[in-house]
């Protein structure tokens, strides 16, 4: 069943369109930067963007920083929100269930397919970011955000860690959207529900009055991937972000399973 879901994922034009759009945004940003040479001042705009003019090899990290706050989670929410509700609204869900595909098995396959999509998306974004960055800005000796220099291996390793962390950060959203996808037959509704949570979280993260709940907000540690480029690496927030996402995933997947396994398929 997992293979079937992966085949559906790769044969779906929407998958590639989404990934194309995700890579288009950092590419457009890079073109503007390269032609105008006007970089945001350090500390403003997306992470790393102030430094890429000097060194294109940082652009994969910058590209992740560009798609991370909105574009990537929206794409993940749409794909995950569609996972069960989309099958329900097309009518194929009833044929899958009476094929028979066990309901738990179906959910697991959907989850794997979403994870593959997220990984594919971040890897392509980072890869295209590297190509675009080195082509437009050239590459030079890398330095960490703390100012020390990094070897190429170290930089590559850290970029890969960042790719993994950003990918993992999306799983909380994915789990919420997937849970909502088992609740409603409307893929749009499920995606919007997950996005509502996301926007709420992002607003509250910036609100000092909400400081008490801040550590539990799903988006709180998203930008911690920047810490991977410090020297030495600042693991604290990365670790917390990892654990927080794991909790969100566990809770909402359990809820999705509990709901779907006992639900009447009436679509």
């Amino acid at each position: 069943m997992i293979l079937v879901e992966l085949r559906k994922l790769i044969r779906r034009p929407r998958t590639w369109l989404t990934i194309g759009l995700l890579t288009a945004l950092p590419t457009i940003v890079a073109i503007f930067l390269a032609t105008t040479k006007v970089a945001p001042r350090p500390g403003e705009g997306p992470a790393f963007l102030s430094a890429v003019l000097a060194n294109g090899a940082l652009y994969p990290a910058a590209a992740l920083g560009i798609v991370l706050p909105i574009f990537l989670p929206v794409a993940v929410a749409v794909i995950a929100g569609d996972s069960v509700a989309g099958e329900a609204s097309v009518g194929t869900l009833r044929y899958l269930v009476c094929r028979p595909v066990g309901r738990t098995r179906l959910l697991v396959a959907k989850l794997v397919s979403i994870i593959v999509f997220v990984l594919l998306a971040v890897v392509v974004v980072a890869g295209v970011g590297y190509l675009v960055g080195t082509q437009l800005f050239g590459s030079g000796p890398l330095s960490s955000t703390s100012g020390t220099s990094l070897s190429t291996t170290q930089a590559t390793l850290r970029t890969m860690l960042a790719v993994g962390y950003v990918g993992f950060s999306m799983l909380g959203v994915a789990a919420v959207a997937m849970f909502l996808s088992t609740v409603t037959d409307s893929a749009l509704g499920a995606a919007l529900g997950a996005l509502a949570l996301l926007v709420t979280s992002q607003v509250l993260v910036l609100l000092d009055a909400a400081a008490s709940v801040r550590p539990y907000l799903p988006t709180r540690y998203w930008l911690a991937f920047v810490d991977l480029f410090r020297d030495p690496v600042l693991w604290r927030d990365v670790g917390r972000g990892f654990a927080l996402q794991a909790v969100y995933v566990a809770v909402f997947l359990a809820a999705a399973w509990a709901n779907f396994a006992t639900k009447d398929v009436a679509s």
Binding site: M1, L3, V4, R7, K8, R11, R12, P13, V90, G91, T92, R94, Y95, L96, V97, C98, R99, P100, V101, G102, T262, D264, V265, A266
Partner: protein, 318 residues
């Protein structure tokens, strides 16, 4: 009623389903004999589709038990449903893929479908439903009838022992309906039990051996078609000499429409002899049977899609 020793492909006991305050299916005892062609009839909203979904493990029963192919559902869904082909409330497919790709995905998704034979099975199923020459066009470009045929092909893919079909001829033209009927008969002769729901009485009358009728969630009739279509005890006589016949048959007349008269008589041959002996010209004469429509209309109420009050428009039982 069914003899108890017949093995049953589908057996439900007191099967019920409640949606909130609505009792959609109310203590239904289905008995579908192995090898039968069972027609499941009822007005819209009477609980047909809900019952069918419970048989397939899509909807969970509120009370009662289900056995399909001798095994409890939904507990044994994995082994039972692998031997069942289904068409539930219209076909469904991924619109951006071609019919063949859809069949491949569905086949690969579940058990009981060896990969080795997949291509051959898909070819055979597409040919059976008349879609073998459809080519690579995506399903979203299919007509309603083609989608219905694809849905049937998906149901036939693993040579099921039991076919559960919801309105299988929906969207097909008369030629297509005929083809599907022939196909179902052929499969049935090959040993496949067929359980089909329909609100087309003519379709059920032409195809089925056994009939169940639901009304407002209750199974109100379940019997063999031949037994349901019993004689009414009337003989219909067509005669140009209706007046003379009336005088002769005084007291035995049931009904008259112009030159057709309905006579209460047990033996059509004797009635014929009597009429002819009295010089009444008989154009045609036959013993009247209850039609399936009479049976169904006698036991059911309006479908739930009828909102207005008032009486039925169509004529009731004679």
């Amino acid at each position: 009623m069914m003899a108890p020793d017949v093995t049953l492909a589908i057996a439900t006991t007191e099967l019920s389903k409640r949606f909130g305050a609505v009792l959609a299916v109310d203590a239904v005892d289905l008995a579908v004999p192995t090898g039968a062609r069972y027609g499941f009839l009822g007005p819209n909203g009477s609980g047909k589709t809900t019952t069918l979904r419970m048989l397939l493990g899509l909807v969970f029963a509120s009370a009662g038990s289900i056995e399909v192919l001798g095994q409890p559902m939904p507990r044994q869904a994995r082994s039972v449903l692998a031997q069942v082909g289904a068409l539930v409330e219209g076909p469904a497919a991924y619109g951006h893929l071609c019919g063949r790709a859809n069949l491949e995905l569905m086949d690969a998704a579940g058990p009981g479908a060896p990969r080795r034979t997949r291509r051959a099975r898909i070819d055979a199923a597409l040919e059976r439903v008349g879609l073998d020459a459809v080519g690579r066009r995506p399903v979203k470009a299919y007509s309603l009838g083609m989608r219905q045929r694809l849905g049937l092909a998906a149901a036939l893919l693993r040579a099921p022992r039991l076919l559960i079909l919801d309105e299988p001829t929906n969207g097909l033209d008369p030629q297509g309906i005929h083809e599907v009927r022939e196909l179902l008969l052929e499969l049935n002769y090959g040993g496949t039990t067929i359980f089909l729901s329909s609100h087309l009485l003519a379709e059920v009358e032409a195809l089925c051996t056994t009939v169940g009728v639901v009304d407002r969630g209750r199974l109100v009739v379940q019997d063999e078609l031949a037994a349901l279509r019993r004689l009414t005890g009337n003989v219909v006589v067509g005669t140009p000499d209706a007046e003379r016949a009336l005088a002769l048959l005084d007291g035995r007349l049931a009904h008259r429409e112009a030159d057709r008269i309905w006579v209460q008589a047990d033996d059509p041959a004797r009635l014929n002899a009597e009429l002819v002996a009295a010089g009444v010209r008989v154009a045609d004469l036959r013993a009247e049977r209850r039609s399936l429509e009479d049976v169904v209309l006698a036991v059911t109420t309006h479908g739930s899609d009828r909102i207005a009050g008032g009486t039925r428009i169509a004529g009731g039982t004679r």
